[in-house]
Subunit: 233 residues, 2 copies
Amino acid sequence: MNESIKAAEPRRLYQQIADQIRSLIQAGQFPAGARLPAERELAQQLGVSRPSLREALIALEIDGSVEIRMGSGIYVTAEPDRRPWQTGSMGESPLELMQARAAVEGAVILLAAAKITPDGLKSLRQTLDQMRAEIAEGRKPLDLDRLFHLTIAGQSGNSVLAHIVGDLFDERHSPLSAQIRVRFESPETWGFALAEHEAIYAALEARNPLLAQAMMHAHLEESKQRWMNNEAR
Amino acid sequence: MNESIKAAEPRRLYQQIADQIRSLIQAGQFPAGARLPAERELAQQLGVSRPSLREALIALEIDGSVEIRMGSGIYVTAEPDRRPWQTGSMGESPLELMQARAAVEGAVILLAAAKITPDGLKSLRQTLDQMRAEIAEGRKPLDLDRLFHLTIAGQSGNSVLAHIVGDLFDERHSPLSAQIRVRFESPETWGFALAEHEAIYAALEARNPLLAQAMMHAHLEESKQRWMNNEAR
DNA sequence: AGTGGAAAAGTGGTCAAGCCAATTTTTATT
DNA sequence: AATAAAAATTGGCTTGACCACTTTTCCACT
């Protein structure tokens, strides 16, 4: 384990160290539940200073890879055992993301339709109008799309859910891997998406939770289909 | 800003510092886009060492609150502007967390009931048995409770959703405020929770999505009621 | 007066060494 | 053999130093 960290990389050292340790865990050198070498020893083995290693361990602790016990040591979490789903499917995919959005945003919009305020509707109206203008000018209304969805989430009156929707939209539920930014709409399809937004808006305006949910589900399903068609090319 | 960190807390210092900085950001002392004081200065102001502050900044960088630029400074990310719901309701509460769990876990268990595997059922069965044993010995089966819920989430076959449920369970969707670790069950009520888990299990075993969802909703609602009763005392 | 380049200052990045608190292991005592 | 105390080990935090990068200031030139 004399693998010194090359200083040629632009990435911060702690990130490199953390990645290296993750690799060692993944490779089975430190199985779940195992205790890592002591900080002083591990730092020496990796050829870095102890504070730098500690920074890396913070990152690993935050992402749940390790558990640090003072006076005792650093343990690989039993995470494989704590996330039984990892025994099954392989990583996330845009389809999973979409399914998750359908599940969450479907539930969220039920709440939102029941509680939506005049200001909320007004805000959505404005967002839609701005989207229309952007599309007419040939631009991609990404931020407005986001704003539309997050405004609805906000109208649920539940900030935890709103937070989740925001994270979903920003694809922050990819543990590490999905740095790919998935864009479901393409330049040609924003018009369709806008029409679907309008249908969602109408259902919210009518304060019809089930219709709103159906419209949201339809929108997300169409969006997924459009993406799949786009990917197939 | 002479707010020294009290050393009396069992939490790690970096977490305390990170939380404090998050509070300052949330309070508007460092608005989005603002540059924090230099590390040396900020450490002094907070009454901690610079390496400890750096550890906290790692955590903040990872959760997206700040961006660290070498030679330039530490900047608050433009994140607050991207969350319109913050103009509305005020902070989270355990009730909101519970509502969010009902929404998400309700959706998740629909998927899980349709796809549950024999191994999944076996794992749930084991978890329930272990919970029973722990309760019989007067212990609080917190980890097992978590495992039960996360196993179900895993059986949804959607790792994004599973991840969300895990985050919800670990209360990672509280931006700042909910450092209160909410424990919905009390020593006396684990027996009830276990019975509710059994009902959920039975519905999953019967592969009845709507029944499973109803059982999950009932469980979470009862759990909430028990917590509220507990809080009222 | 304006501009460009170099130097200085400021900032984060990393390291070394030391001491303290918590846990584990070893040793001594009963 | 069991228990308590001591020693060793381990992580937690601090101080201080030097290096790499960025920004600001200063000076020379046009």
